[in-house]
């Protein structure tokens, strides 16, 4: 029979044990602490555990029932979870206990997953860990991961900003800053889905072609911007104003079902647009014709149908001599003059 291999650990000087396992604890057969490693000494910040009972100094939390040397010896070689008692803040360790020839035991401890916090809390350095310990690599990883996550967060933020900018541009008429047809379609769809009553105002400029033809496109663009300003001033924050064609505009008024109020608004818009517009010493005069449809006039309001009807009312306004507004009524087909 082969002779059992005898450990040489007991002949290792304490300085050697300190280098191999800077977080070790040695206890005698009674469970009294006789020595411990330099990193543990650093954590104790001046307090001494020599002569204290292991089970008093540490709470051996798992496996359960570790309160005697006999119980600990039965669990040697297993992974232990333990905390240091009497510390200002919770100090958790992972541990491993092995019996010594004299009936005593040596426990080797490590910080486990809490290593980064322990290093910061106790200002530990490379020399507090054995060179074979991967604790420093773990700290490296924590820091590298934080830097990489920071870079990813920055990228995600920039992409999000770009996306919002692109969405904004996709919904905006670049000349006037009003919404465009795509935005109008979205607004009408969500109002219809939410069954919110609303009014749809369709406006076409009168005499605009003459401005373009006689004063040029720059003048025309200027006029369109002035019109956009009027529409912005005459509508509420919750209303949507869109340019949907060369000189065609649509305004949507959520919650508006009052014909009289709409007629007043339409009249005010026409009056303001009909004011002479000065541009580079020249004056131009335009006007506007308006057709209005109200969702409350329909059993099942359909945005396309309402746009067609508002358009019909608009052309009735044009035929009636321009510079006026009409409200469409789906039942009677009777034109009401505004």
């Amino acid at each position: 029979m082969a002779k059992p291999v005898v450990s040489v650990l007991m002949s290792l000087p304490k300085s050697g044990l300190d280098k191999l396992m800077p977080l070790h604890v040695v206890v005698d057969p009674d469970g009294t602490i006789t020595s411990y490693g330099p990193t543990l000494a650093k954590l104790l910040a001046g307090r001494s555990l020599i002569g204290h009972a292991l089970f008093g100094a540490f709470d051996l939390r798992r496996p359960a029932g570790l309160t005697t040397m006999k119980a600990l010896q039965a669990r040697q070689g297993e992974r232990l979870q333990m905390t240091l008692r009497g510390a200002a803040r919770t100090m958790a360790f992972r541990g491993l206990a092995q019996g010594l020839g004299d009936g005593g035991m040596v426990l080797n401890l490590s910080f486990g997953i809490g290593v980064a916090e322990a290093v910061t809390a106790h200002a530990l350095t490379d020399t507090d860990f054995a060179p074979t310990d991967l604790a420093v690599e773990m700290l490296y990883l924590v820091e590298a991961k934080t830097a990489a996550m920071g870079a990813l967060r920055g990228l995600a933020q920039r992409l999000e900003d770009d996306k919002q900018m692109a969405e904004h541009q996709a919904l905006t008429d670049t000349l006037t800053g009003l919404r465009n047809r795509r935005a109008l379609t979205q607004t009408l769809k969500s109002l219809t889905l939410a069954q919110t009553p609303f009014a749809l105002l369709h406006m076409d400029l009168d005499y605009f072609k003459a401005v373009n033809d006689t004063l040029g496109h720059a003048a025309g663009d200027h006029v369109l911007k002035v019109v956009a300003g009027v529409l912005g001033a005459q509508t509420r924050r919750q209303d949507t104003v869109a340019r949907v064609g060369g000189d065609e505009f649509v305004a949507v008024f959520p919650g508006m079902a009052e014909t009289s109020q709409l007629e007043i608004t339409a009249q005010r818009i026409i009056e303001n647009i009909s004011q002479p517009i000065e541009m580079e010493g020249k004056t131009c005069q335009i006007s506007a014709s308006i057709g209005i449809a109200l969702s409350t006039d329909y059993a099942n309001p359909d945005p396309d149908r309402m746009q067609t009807d508002a358009d019909e009312a608009l052309y009735a306004s044009k035929r009636a001599g321009r510079g006026r507004a009409r409200v469409f009524h789906p039942t009677g087909q009777d034109w009401r003059r505004a």
Binding site: A116, V142, L152
Partner: protein, 194 residues
Amino acid sequence: MHGLINRSIQCFLRDTYGAPVWEAIARQAGVEPSGFEAMLTYDDRLTDLVIDAGAALLRRSRETLLEDLGQYLVSHETLTSLRRLLRFSGLNFVDFVNSLEELPARGRLVLPNLDMPELELCELGPGQFTLRCAAPLQGVGHILVGLLRAMADDYGALVMLECLGVEGGAEVVSIQIADQALYEARPFNLGMAV
């Protein structure tokens, strides 16, 4: 090439020579002035185009420009994270040099698709080393010389560094450590600065 590398080159050119110079280099290299995103991957050729455009516009050799880049990566105040990550590799400069071969693995631990040069360290005698680096980027040895010079400063070591040229597909750098602790090292705490 990993965006992190391209982005580093962009930041180096911008921080050292100013935003207008970077924009001129970007235009010449056919890159958007907004430059590179650190977490995306780009065509390898773009990296060379930017370095060549930079060298041409600044009237500097590619070699000295790359050496300055290496130094910038470690020593510039806006980039403290790389200096810290490198300091995790060793207690002192000799320790650091001895762990250089681990560097590619350390990089890939965090960014698995990071293009890192393959490094092979050979100890010729006490404090005397040659480092062979194989990478697709021509002039990688000069980046390493700049980086090692800055790290030696960080550790307070006195060193002599030189690019010996290309040998068997790898660029060879000579490292001679005259005194590994001539000056006081810059402070380094394991715990992250909060």
